[in-house]
Symmetry: C2
Subunit: 120 residues, 2 copies
């Protein structure tokens, strides 16, 4: 059972976290290769990354792809997210947890920016 967990930073502004939930929902409608899709937050909202992964495992996930919803390869992406995943992986070695490239690494970002200029 394949599960995607979209990881966002989390904001004090709940509307920003709701934007992540909306993107997660839209993603789930297109992600036909995955059984379940959810989101989790590095900080400032629930579920946390470990809790989000544990929820997925409870729901039967045997493979989890973690998808960092971040624009740059900063400390959060390179250190904090892997550090929060590691203990869950250690206690659940039967579940394969993989981290996808962060959003900002997508080669299509310039195209999307270009499309945004049509919106003014």
């Amino acid at each position: 059972m394949k599960h995607v967990v979209i990881i966002a930073h989390g904001s004090r502004r709940m509307a920003s976290n709701d934007e992540v939930r909306k993107v997660t929902h839209q993603f789930s409608q297109q992600a036909h290769d995955f059984d379940r899709v959810s989101c989790a937050f590095l900080e400032l909202d629930e579920p946390s990354i470990p809790q989000g992964l544990l929820n997925a495992i409870e729901q039967g996930a045997t493979e989890i792809i973690v998808l960092p919803y971040f624009l740059s390869a900063g400390r959060h992406v390179s250190e904090d997210i892997p550090a929060q995943i590691a203990p869950v992986q250690d206690t659940h070695p039967e579940v394969e947890i993989k981290i996808a490239p962060y959003l900002g690494a997508a080669e299509t970002i310039p195209e999307i920016l270009l499309a945004q200029t049509k919106g003014v």
Copy 2:
């Protein structure tokens, strides 16, 4: 003369700011409708937003599209960026400065996330 200024938050980590410069360069290679493309930072790197706009005006921009490189419609997008643009617009009424929808508002974001899952 149409100019795009991509606005990022800016990071203490210079590699993250360099990622923005790289995206800006890639964007400029695809943005055939625009005469010049540059980037500016809300904080923590140069040029600032006002300086980035003034540079564009000095280079002959008559129309500037500001493109917020942000994932959520938080305070930075809704308040801080417009507040930094306003004084430049006031002192240069002959230049048309427009703000495009921020990156996270793009309807194609879920598709791009989906493509990122192929990268693991």
